[in-house]
């Protein structure tokens, strides 16, 4: 055995799936990835019942601050506002008179909401306070006509809502060990925020899957991130580890510590505010929570932490970005990718940030044609089963969790 091989940490063998015998090792039916009947069940059983991330507390930091989040899945608009008592509340953006949106801006500051149709006004707590020419109504009881409130809770500064009027689990219960193990990460330091958004013609789960395995990295990303997330010591893009914390999961991604950056990239790494997205560098000053690089592998680059059902945080030691997938049809998804970089302390660091944005965008754009081609094959009903590699365990897990939620919901209603 030569010296280099001896020094190289061992690549994780393909035995991860065997830790979870309940998931099996067989092929997975593709029905869940294109059939309209299954899609309709998913919306009821999952998207109307699970906790969904809608933003961060900084978006409504002060009393009177609000932001509006569109949920493309339901063509629904949700207002998140901070009341006079300092409490953050979520409401359906829906006037109690005839249903118009009461707030048309995406974010702002106000003392209350005035419907732009006939001018009904609501307080920051959602209470109806004013009705023009109220004498003209019959038996109007203002106390029963507040904006319709939506369940809201906060985890590590992220705002979650639940469309179920009586959520079957609290947010803490829902996130379980997955949430607990990531607590303490410096999420609030990622104040330089950018976001991309697009509609991709594929099933929402396929879009999530594309960020949950790195088996494709050496091939599909051969021009870009192949040499950072794979490399001579890991030619097939094996992951370091996959940990299932049902319904959530985390993939720890291998990093090539011997990577030599390209010229512009190297300058960007040198002048980035903290480790940049594709550098795989570790911020020595950050204390990593237990759940990040949980095996404490030395050749670690990033973790992909999947929060059921539709949210991923891709976390490095000094920056993170999120993906959120909003299904709008069995074969169509609205994809939002939001980056949270450390703020630039000087003008040169702004250059490092631009490199992170550009390389991230270029790399993820490489994933999308594949997804649309696969969907067209699925929509034809031609491909009956998916075969999953051991390190595609995250995909197998997502399927099982989705199926479980759909089946449990159907059973409960039967």
């Amino acid at each position: 055995m030569n010296e280099r091989l001896m020094k190289t940490p061992e690549i994780t063998p393909p035995t991860l799936t065997l830790r979870y015998p309940e998931l099996g090792t067989g092929p997975i039916s593709t029905d869940a990835y294109w059939k309209p009947e299954f899609y309709a069940q998913e919306l009821e059983a999952i998207f109307k019942r699970a906790w969904l991330c809608v933003g961060r507390v900084e978006q409504a930091a002060a009393v009177g601050d609000f932001f509006v989040k569109k949920l493309p899945t339901f063509d629904m608009s949700i207002i998140v506002a901070r009341g006079k008592d300092g409490t953050l509340r979520a409401f359906h953006n829906m006037c109690q008179h005839r249903g118009n949106h009461v707030e048309l801006r995406a974010q702002g500051h106000c003392v209350g909401f005035t419907c732009p149709f006939h001018g009904w006004t609501y307080g920051l707590d959602g209470k109806l306070v004013g009705v023009p020419d109220a004498q003209g109504f019959f038996d109007l009881d203002k106390s029963t006509l507040s904006l319709k409130q939506v369940a809201l809770d906060i985890w590590e500064g992220f705002v979650f809502i639940n469309l179920d009027p009586n959520p079957c689990q609290s947010l803490v219960e829902f996130l379980g060990t997955h949430g607990r193990d990531l607590e303490g990460y410096a999420f609030e330091r990622g104040t330089a925020v950018f976001e991309y958004e697009g509609t991709i013609n594929c099933n929402w789960k396929c879009m999530i899957d594309s960020f949950c395995e790195t088996y494709h990295v050496p091939i599909l990303h051969k021009h870009s991130i192949k040499d950072t997330l794979a490399g001579p010591d890991n030619p097939h893009g094996r992951l370091i580890d996959i940990r299932l914390k049902t319904p959530h999961r985390t993939m720890s991604v291998w990093g090539n510590m011997a990577y030599q950056p390209n010229p512009v990239q190297g300058l960007a790494f040198k002048y980035a505010p903290g480790p940049s997205i594709t550098s795989g560098a570790v911020d020595e000053n950050s204390v990593l929570p237990k759940g990040l690089n949980e095996t404490r592998a030395p050749n670690w680059s990033i973790d992909v932490s999947a929060f059921f059902p539709n949210w991923l945080i891709v976390m490095g030691s000094g920056m993170y970005f999120t993906h959120q997938m909003w299904p709008i049809a069995p074969n169509r998804v609205v994809w939002q990718m939001r980056g949270f970089l450390r703020p630039a302390q000087n003008a040169a660091q702004r250059f490092g940030q631009e490199n992170s944005m550009v390389e991230l965008r270029d790399a993820v754009l490489e994933d999308c044609n594949t997804l649309e081609r696969i969907q067209s094959v699925l929509d034809q009903g031609l491909l009956k089963e998916f075969l999953y590699h051991d390190h595609e365990l995250g995909l197998r897990h997502q399927y099982h969790v989705v199926k479980q939620w759909v089946d449990d919901y159907a059973k409960a209603r039967a």
């Binding site: 950018f194 703020p343 000087n346 040169a348 702004r350 631009e354 550009v358 044609n369």
Partner: protein, 187 residues
């Protein structure tokens, strides 16, 4: 006639893109003049108006009053000639520039900037966002264009990876301002 057909095709593509984007927030606007190049014509995507507030408008001195309006800080004045084409308003414009420029032109820009890039960054690392003079702002903007062009040369060897998904379908909807101070920075 051919020109008309071309225009018609672009209009059709624009309508299609509009339809595809029907679920986007309704307040999108065209922030680039469709007349400034065919490749812009079908792109209905710009900076979200809500984010404009964060954008410090590029501090331009009116043409009449400026002499060397393309000037960079003195140590880098040899690069002045790149300013008109490569100091661009924002990230969206820079991505468009990459898609609409030949690889030969991109390489010429890259080759001109790269030898001085480390010195430029050392210089910019002593300057605070929000306090840049117009020449310093232009210098930063040239470097931001270099960041955008980097992968074209270093990863793909083409303007765009031939296999890549159409970037116009995945626009920036929240953009980082080029020159404003950023929240959380201790200046």
């Amino acid at each position: 006639m051919a020109k008309n057909q071309q225009t018609h095709r672009l209009k059709f593509a624009a309508a299609q893109l509009e339809r595809d984007g029907a679920r986007r927030p309704r307040c999108w606007y065209r922030h680039l003049d469709p007349s400034d190049g065919d490749c812009y014509a079908e792109n209905a995507i710009g900076v979200h108006p809500h984010n404009q507030a964060q954008q410090t408008p590029f501090q331009e001195i009116p043409l009449a009053r400026r002499k060397n309006h393309d000037e960079l800080p003195e140590p880098f004045s040899g690069l002045d000639k790149w300013v008109p084409d490569w100091a661009l308003p924002d990230s969206t414009a820079r991505f468009k520039k990459r898609r609409c420029t030949s690889l030969a032109e991109i390489r010429a820009f890259y080759d001109a900037l790269l030898p001085q890039a480390d010195a430029i960054l050392k210089y910019l690392s002593t300057r605070q966002l929000g306090t840049l003079t117009p020449p310093e702002g232009k210098l930063l903007k040239l470097m931001l264009s270099l960041a955008e062009m980097g992968p074209a040369i270093e990863w793909y060897g083409t303007e765009n990876h031939p296999e890549a998904f159409d970037g116009r379908r995945f626009p920036l909807v929240v953009t980082l301002a080029d020159m404003s101070p950023q929240p959380g920075a201790h200046t």
